[in-house]
Symmetry: C2
Subunit: 201 residues, 2 copies
């Protein structure tokens, strides 16, 4: 992991190529990421890395939107629409020929991950994924600790259905999950967590 205490040091460079500029921006943004990381953005950038390196193909499902009215007079512009509830999960893809499906959630709580963050449809969907032999899990970020955990869906499903509490204690996530390594590239190495958790050919 590369640490850059502040972005300003980069400005000391006199000549920068377009490529190194891009690199600098990436590093600066990684540095910024450590101060209140945007989980979704970091997963997306990690996915680009995995694809580029031929490791895995993971895509984000677009947010479902119900289009009510389209104006064709000015190009093809949507002028009335509303967000629909995601009935599945945010991400899916393929790793080592296997189907991968997961939901990423973030919490500002220091003590637990609130189950209210997960809707019933998503639990049903992930149960289905497991029943079809897919890999199903959650990526859970504890913002205050800047920690991101991999947690197999079966644990969360069991907690959702049989748990007496309405949130998974932080300590339980720590114990049953895997801390995802953070770095420059990939930002969040959740494939490493998959490798550690599942035995894949």
């Amino acid at each position: 992991m590369v640490n850059y205490p502040n972005g300003k040091t980069f400005t000391q460079l006199n000549k920068v190529t377009s490529e190194s500029k891009k690199e600098i921006n990436l590093k600066a943004s990684f540095s910024a990421a450590n101060r209140g990381m945007n989980l979704e953005e970091n997963i997306n950038i990690s996915n680009e890395y995995y694809l580029r390196k031929g490791i895995a193909l993971i895509t984000k499902r677009p947010t479902p939107i119900n289009v009510v009215k389209v104006d064709y007079t000015n190009g093809k512009r949507i002028i009335d629409a509303y967000f629909e509830k995601q009935s599945t999960t945010d991400y899916n893809g393929v790793y080592k020929r296997r189907y991968v499906d997961f939901e990423a959630k973030s919490t500002r709580s220091k003590t637990s991950f609130p189950m209210a963050n997960i809707c019933k449809h998503q639990i049903t969907h992930l149960k289905n994924v497991l029943s079809f032999g897919g890999l199903a899990f959650f990526i859970i970020q504890f913002e205050r600790y800047n920690e991101v955990y991999f947690l197999d869906a079966s644990y969360v499903i069991d907690f959702y259905e049989n748990g007496s509490r309405k949130s998974i204690p932080y300590e339980s996530v720590k114990l049953n999950g895997t801390l995802i390594k953070q770095g420059f590239s990939p930002r969040l190495d959740f494939i490493d967590a998959i490798d550690n958790f599942y035995c894949l050919d």
Copy 2:
């Protein structure tokens, strides 16, 4: 395959339960489907069947929409947005633990399937799927014949990259693809086509 020459025969029933009403609607709509089938709708309904029967889990990716402006005064309403190009494909999911990814396209041509229907991003995406060991294919409907074909992505990719023509002749689709069985349930048995084409455990 069950044939229902016209939907009116169902109205002869005197007493119908809510369940049988639903069944009737399905049958009537199946009957209607034969006269200008909506490909997407039929795939979606087939996917519901596969899920219900524990055969496969296939979901449709929502249409990607770029939201420009949201009005919060009246609930949370999108008042300016536009459609983005789908950079991947319409459908993906899991069958026999394997990742499945496909694009569904329809043509009114009687002689060929125009490659203009497929964008470069989709070809790139399906090449990636194949390289990661996923199953990648197209479902191509020839509306005028009411025929729907399963066609492995590798054939389409090869044609896209090396073909001298800008469309795949109907006869080539017939020869290299698999005619998908149509029925009441599932409407389009593309899983059967997968079974016939790939050797899965």
